[in-house]
Homo-oligomer: 387 residues x 2
């Protein structure tokens, strides 16, 4: 595979975008990314999206977006992998360029979740679970995560308030990100009094569903035009999977998909954990942060919450996470989230993160996008230097 670089990024603010449809939202992000890359010649478009069919009665989305973005005629496909659809589309774009099939591709993630009733959104999101054996029983994703969180607290002796640091750091970081949905601070006291959704998960444990689109331009080394931005190199993008249904797993507190996907990515990049200085993880719920950190190998089992309380994951800590607010406070437009994570990491490498979010000296960053409760996991490693 030939080396592949990201040469342009674009994003819309994460909001309730009542004034634009799926296609316009995607086009805004694509155009921003193309401008950022100094208008390269794009040969293929990979669209990450989960729910355009169920929420907007629109399949065949990729071609529609290509046309409206002014890219009529190019190769275009939609990639679906539940909440990991964005990073999965990025993976396909990387394969297309790395293989030599195309020189330049765009990966865009787009989702509109606020267009219909919250019941429709909940039903849509539940389609990431096993429709016959989980969703049919009436279980929602917050309920599945509540089971995990309750078990985790029981197993390792934590109190609910111990999870506060995950939420606090996300909201603190989001305040400086103009594209984030939330711009308010969360105090420990506020977290503890937050309205219960599915015990022990409260409102402030949950990432908000919202609308958004983010895009990246990917180019092969030898054809990279001298764009205005420093290229950021793709050192790995690997997928690991697990059972969809939680009850099929031997240990529900161990996300095998995270373990496999992280290991494959580190192997592909020839790195170990110590080289990763930024981890944009999939903090859809506080418990997902803890399980991700542990299954990815950044914390011993049962220790992630303790490390969070020690401040390890804050901007000034050893392994910053959610530096632009994460899913928790930037917002979680599901099929777009994986691309938002990559865009945010790219901005860090290019010294374009808003102050005071800018990290210094990051050589490698990992982004991790998860579908379902750890059923599919896409782990990407980006680097400052060419692989």
């Amino acid at each position: 595979m030939r080396p592949v670089a990201i040469t342009g990024v674009g994003q819309t603010p994460v909001r309730e975008h009542w004034d634009v449809g799926l296609r316009e939202l995607a086009v805004q992000a694509i155009w921003a990314a193309l401008e950022d890359a100094a208008d390269p010649k794009v040969e293929a478009l990979f669209v990450g999206n989960m729910l355009s069919g169920m929420m907007a009665s629109q399949e065949h989305l990729a071609v529609l977006i290509a046309d409206y973005a002014g890219l009529r005629g190019i190769e275009a496909v939609k990639v679906e992998l539940a909440c990991a659809s964005g990073a999965a589309a990025f993976r396909q774009a990387v394969l297309a360029v790395a293989s030599g099939a195309v020189r330049t591709a765009v990966a865009v993630g787009v989702e509109k979740l606020t267009e219909r009733s919250i019941h429709a959104t909940t039903e849509g999101l539940a389609s990431a679970a096993d429709a016959d054996y989980e969703a049919a029983m009436g279980i929602s994703f917050v309920a599945l995560n509540a089971l995990l969180m309750r078990r985790y607290m029981h197993e390792y002796g934590y109190q609910k308030s111990d999870f506060a640091p995950f939420v606090q750091l996300a909201h603190e970081n989001a305040q400086a990100n103009p594209n984030a949905l939330f711009h308010f601070e969360v105090g420990r006291d506020q977290y503890e009094k937050s309205r219960m959704v599915a015990d022990p998960i409260c409102l402030l444990d949950s990432s908000p569903v919202a609308d958004g689109a983010a895009a990246v331009v990917i180019t092969a080394e030898e054809t990279r035009a001298a764009g205005p931005q420093i290229p950021v190199w793709v050192h790995a993008c690997e997928i690991g999977t697990d059972t969809i249904a939680l009850d099929n797993r031997k240990d529900p507190l161990w996300m095998k998909g995270v373990e496999v996907s992280t290991r494959k990515a580190l192997q592909r990049a020839s790195l170990d954990h110590s080289r990763i200085r930024l981890f944009e993880l999939h903090d859809a719920f506080s418990i997902m942060s803890a399980l991700s950190l542990e299954s990815a190998g950044f914390a011993e089992q049962g220790q992630a919450v303790r490390l969070a309380n020690e401040g390890i994951f804050q901007l000034t800590g050893r392994l910053p996470m959610a530096t632009a607010g994460g899913l928790k406070a930037r917002g979680h437009p599901v099929g777009a989230t994986g691309i938002y994570q990559i865009v945010e990491a790219v901005l860090q490498f290019q010294q374009r993160a808003p102050q005071p979010l800018q990290l210094e000296g990051v050589e490698y960053a990992m982004t991790q996008n998860i579908g379902g409760s750890g059923a599919s996991v896409v782990t990407t490693i980006l680097g400052r230097n060419k692989p």
Copy 2:
């Protein structure tokens, strides 16, 4: 890109499969393909499917199928490109293997369209059109194709009965294919008396929606196990696109996506039209056969129907099509159709087509899978020899 071969194929009969769900249907095809390839070590699964969300409230389908197929943990994504989802998944599988990212992949197409009411199916299929500007007006795919057929008849002076040969040959060929949905002959008289659906499209002009799954195993040259079957080589798999909405096209009778995709595929394979001896095209409606043949360059504009009446496309003709019954008589389980086409072409190369369908001396075959009314087109060229 390294050479890639198909080493195993599998398919379920196209039927109304009331007794099995999406996952079981897909698994049947995957297991058949794996057995055919002598159980290779599979590293990635690409699922072509259009309507699992709208029809079965099941997204995140790829991981579910991987798990149920006994492939838990491997990379798995769903690829959606309306009725071309199957071949689009094949394209991604080819890129994954050709790039060197994985050694062996499975592409499976699966669709269940008969599980709910015909209204739900019609609504689902309409999501391949522009939801805001076409489907919202109440237009269905048969109506869109009726507009095209009427225009074509007007432009080139054909009568409706002139289209009979496309239907007759599909039904004639399907009789020998045990996996086809229909096993009855259609006489010219019968075609002319067929019930009108959307004038001038009658019931016998329309491919039947149904349930089905088909799968192929793809391997890189250097890792190909000495399986029992002769490998069939992928010489090209290219995507071309056009506007979704018909009214955005300069000439609705010219399918630009077909033209571009065919040209790209022939260029990639370094072939001209004369070398293609089998064309499995997307005969969703009789008019689509005519437009495909012309836009692909196998007939002058307005001449495809005349050539059909001359018998060119029959088994004994110069360019056989729909040799296993085509979409028309094998049936059209939308997201699976593109893989069925490839499976049928592979069987031809391996002398495994049922008699009297077996062609002799085919060196190259083209399969063409279309999404929408020509909006996205995946053209594959398979060959007997290594590229």
